[in-house]
Symmetry: C2
């Protein structure tokens, strides 16, 4: 498809492009134009020309799917009237996203293009803290007083002309706009025209509060399978709704952020390829420096026990096995606990339950790893007269490393959560550094005893 | 809520329990009964008694939300008639999930309780490969021939009595059941009664194929924001639909699996607490053993260069810094690449683009880390006469380690994908083990040259 459109553009055969666009989904059109832009296969004026080929009802939706660099390019090519048309057709939450991505001068133009009511709603949403339910909601929803009839409600829906999932659920409010019930468009279709929505609604409404964290909102969607969740203020008045598609985006964003944090990378707002080499390097260097300098502790410990490996050089050869195994055990536990907390399966009140569970798991794992390692060393260094001492020393250290690292691996993420640091930061890299130091310390102390070495 | 219900059950005040249930969402009711079961606060017969207090229209939905152990307990307490009622009310995809979780004797009863048409549909879905679109679809959807009128379609919807999101989209088929278009319930409401669905439908349908991987299906939901996607066979006949809530579950499942694989843990079907200590240990031990034994390579390398650190013992103290930094660099890259591939941002055809990008990032990062480390060693060992040589040697090794590990970190996950191994298995633990060995090798070879040591 991409090649066909590109050829058509080169031949200036815009009629053909228009025809192709009319058979495509808005998200795919956005991808296609984005592709021309990213691959520098079309100049700015050709790109805005392509965009102008879109039917009016498609343009705004395709626009909402584009990356911010392309959006900015297009807005700069729009007249004020064109901009106004797009802003009119965009849903409020998409306009808010747009404003958050654009530089100040573009934002000014966007706000000027919005009608006063939209501007009021935009400003309200922008006031909610980042990553809160209020910041991701939209204000396009249908609410009806409880004494409205089914017929009136259906007429209201028909008159709106939105074609978004936000109209499938109708929210019922009391006289002072408090949310008292909910019903679906299906309930309307299967009820008599003159029934009151207050009589057919479901009064048990699941809501989210404006200040609730977006991760909790996403988890509620996972749990309840709703198309939309109403957002209420602290007096239970409905102020907006979050739709499932935005919740899916949030969930994806949160997971991507967790992955980045767990790999000791500052999360990027953009995709892998959209992030420049310098930005990637910047996002990675800080944690690498911190962790590299922290590893000085391990080197100090090793330096301190020079006498030990001067006497038994083979001790050194076991350091990677010990620190590697400890690091892996720690990252297994921390990953399980971090993921469990993101999904709401593990809560802070489960602290002792988790620690006790990990302790028991670590004992099983430690004994097996210690035993196998004992055998491995006995075989690998069978010609060494002190092989049994070495095997004993390394295996004891493995047992200690496994238990320690599993305990550190569950305690640190939960402690981080308790003090409101992202638990994902307490993952493999951070834990490995701590485990490296503590494992080495324990290892050399065991070695001093087993080989009867004096420092 | 939990405590109130528990007290009511203890007082045998079932009227009160019934009242409370009537104000609750099905997912919350399932949670509550599950809680009684998990905490062993109610006996099996009390739990089935609680379940029987649910109104008929709530029971099946609450049932679908429960964990498999509780489902099995309940089914075993059901009479055949009761089971039949529940199976009748369950959606086909939930019945399929149930069958996949239950032991053979229970499955037999479930299939016997299903009516012949449901049984046919269940068997069809069960035949699709695990994790394919076909295996997660449901067969409850509305399709209409193109020459049906709007009025007839609305009547069909009214007659169904489903209250699920699956009816918001109507699929239009040709005479031979090929999918030719799609329209929403809103299109019906805003059209005249005697218009034909074929005239108001959108002929551009986004579909998924029965054998498509569920991760791709989930990504399509993320991209297109649909409530449901139709599943078609290889002749474009519609055979089912996947709904957004199932796609969200799939996305969550795939991410949890990725997290587990990246931490070298075999994924568990159950939640953290539902997985027993032995199961956790079993899921973790295999990779730990493999990685521990692989680290033997590093120990052989270190053993081989015993002469080097016998001459310059301080070399040993830098091993954790080197392997730690290499491991962190590798896991940063592999995590970014694995996540990018899961989201479809990075494809196999981007191989050289990714390698080149990571190479440039690694150069920037390597130079900074090398320089800082040079300074660190100069300060830490300022009293040592050979401090400059040591600093040079370690810093060169850091530069090499960073570049190598970033390249390994992007090549391995992409190679795994190419040969259809889960790229997530090529994450931190696996890469650290390889990076440990290669970094140590390079380090000692640099040391031999810098300090002019003969082995």
């Amino acid at each position: 498809m991409y090649e066909i459109v590109r050829d058509a553009v080169e031949e200036r055969n815009f009629k053909k492009v228009k025809e192709i666009f009319s058979t495509m989904n808005e998200a795919d059109i956005a991808d296609l134009i984005q592709g021309f832009h990213d691959n520098r296969e079309a100049e700015a004026k050709d790109i805005s020309l392509l965009f102008r080929l879109l039917p009016k009802d498609t343009a705004a939706e395709a626009f909402a799917y584009m990356d911010s660099d392309l959006k900015e390019l297009l807005i700069n090519s729009f007249t004020n009237t064109e901009l106004q048309e797009i802003i009119d057709d965009l849903f409020i939450d998409d306009t808010v996203d747009l404003i958050e991505e654009m530089p100040a001068n573009v934002v000014k133009r966007i706000l000027a293009a919005a009608d006063p009511e939209s501007r009021r709603q935009i400003n309200m949403i922008l006031k909610y803290p980042e990553d809160s339910a209020g910041s991701i909601m939209t204000t396009e929803y249908i609410y009806m007083k409880a004494d409205t009839t089914v017929k009136e409600t259906l007429e209201k829906i028909r008159s709106l002309g939105w074609v978004k999932e936000t109209v499938y659920t109708i929210y019922v409010t009391s006289q002072d706009r408090q949310l008292v019930g909910v019903l679906s468009i299906l309930d309307l279709l299967t009820s008599d025209d003159d029934e009151l929505v207050g009589d057919i609604m479901d009064p048990n409404v699941i809501t989210v509060e404006t200040h609730e964290d977006q991760e909790i909102v996403a988890n509620k969607f996972l749990k309840y399978d709703f198309i939309a969740l109403p957002v209420v203020d602290n007096e239970n008045r409905i102020v907006g709704i979050v739709t499932f598609d935005d919740a899916m985006d949030v969930a994806e964003e949160e997971v991507t952020e967790d992955f980045a944090h767990m790999a000791a990378v500052e999360p990027s707002e953009e995709s892998y390829f959209k992030t420049s080499v310098f930005a990637h390097a910047r996002n990675r260097i800080v944690w690498l420096l911190v962790l590299m300098l922290s590893s000085t502790i391990s080197s100090v410990i090793i330096g301190h026990y020079e006498a030990a490996f001067a006497t038994v050089p083979l001790l050194v050869a076991s350091i990677p096995t010990l620190t590697g195994t400890g690091g892996n055990c720690g990252s297994q536990t921390s990953t399980m606990v971090i993921r469990g907390m993101s999904l709401g399966e593990i809560e802070l009140k489960d602290f002792f339950k988790v620690v006790f569970k990990e302790f028991r798991i670590s004992l099983i794992v430690a004994v097996i790893l210690g035993a196998v390692n004992f055998g491995r060393i006995c075989i690998q260094y069978r010609s060494d007269p002190e092989v049994l001492k070495l095997a004993l020393c390394v295996s004891l250290a493995i047992v200690a490393a496994v238990v320690m690292s599993k305990l550190i691996g569950c305690i640190l993420p939960m402690a981080a959560k308790a003090v409101k640091i992202d638990p994902a930061l307490m993952a493999a890299p951070f834990i490995s550094t701590i485990v490296d130091a503590s494992t080495t310390l324990v290892f050399f102390n065991i070695a001093l005893i087993v080989f009867d070495i004096k420092l």
